[in-house]
Symmetry: C2
Subunit: 201 residues, 2 copies
């Protein structure tokens, strides 16, 4: 398989080598928004779309993070901050591995998203605001969490008794109450393709 | 670019899709051994070799882990256990992303390696013992850590005042005092290639 005549131990593997192999530029697509705004659903469909178009993405969300590497964190302020810090560090590893990550986390405050941006680095951090009015998200209530929060069974739930601070200048905003899933995924794909499309040979 | 006529939202992306795209079966190569045994050097060269042969690997070691996702852990027993737990969870994410990880961590006890094996899963965990006698590792002392440990400037240093429990049944053992770097890398490569070589179409 190896047809290289040059010494194999030329130099250590760099991100540029990985991006050349995968024919893409790696980025972290950071989807922020209320519970029920549609982040994870969009992320999963975007992941499939990117893969089908020849890219190599990885979606990260509560399902594969809170159940694994972050399974020892609580929902206090400090626990939430550490949750996002680890996710950002993990995303940085992935982006250095040449992979496009699609992160779906409420990440409710400007400060917590700023932390993620600083860890990942401005150039690799693409903030996408998945926006639907609270009433819409609450009416959807896919996981029944708003109901529990209103009943006082969950404390500190974003949008109910904890604030959500909308991004001031997101790279992109998607209104999921105004367009359907297919359109949302298409708009994000068309926005990011020029950014991730491989340009060097 | 997309020539697919089938609906793109057929199903969510699976590990099998990723392995097919990368033409490899993903595994975690877990290199254990004393400080100075040669783990990280072997890992970096093995990473380059695998890449040159068409595989897609990622080396994980203290340089990219302790400085990032695990930068808030100390060297107490609890800190070391959490260090390995997070590394194992991270490796599990990578292996589910279709990537071969090459992990270089002393991971000195049977219990701590068993924890990693359980998190990653028996089928994906390939234990490789990078073995050189303590005297050899201490004579190399690349980072000057043995000297500091002997002087009492570092406590709990594996091999000096903390135990190293050799793996009882490693998948592979490499004696770095008996063979050079090129041979060590070649032997590991030849051992793992049948395991990672893509077999399904």
């Amino acid at each position: 398989m190896n047809k290289h005549l040059h010494p194999i131990f030329d130099r250590f593997l760099q991100r540029a080598d990985r991006e050349r192999r995968l024919r893409q530029h790696s980025k972290v697509l950071w989807l922020t928004g209320l519970s029920g705004s549609g982040k994870s659903t969009i992320a999963q469909h975007l992941e499939r779309r990117l893969y089908n178009e020849g890219y190599y993405p990885q979606a990260l969300d509560g399902d594969n993070i809170r159940s694994g590497i972050n399974n020892n964190l609580d929902f206090t302020d400090e626990g939430r901050r550490e949750n996002i810090r680890r996710i950002a560090e993990l995303s940085k590893l992935y982006v250095n591995s040449g992979i496009i990550t699609i992160n779906s986390f409420i990440s409710p405050t400007t400060a917590i998203r700023q932390l993620a941006r600083e860890i990942i680095g401005q150039d690799d951090f693409v903030e996408i605001y998945i926006n639907a009015p609270l009433e819409v998200c609450e009416a959807r209530d896919v996981k029944g969490l708003y109901k529990k929060a209103r009943a006082g069974e969950i404390q500190g739930f974003t949008g109910v008794d904890a604030p959500y601070e909308p991004p001031e200048k997101p790279a992109l905003e998607i209104r999921t109450d105004r367009q359907d899933l297919n359109d949302s995924v298409r708009v994000i794909f068309e926005f990011i393709e020029p950014i991730i499309k491989y340009r060097k040979s």
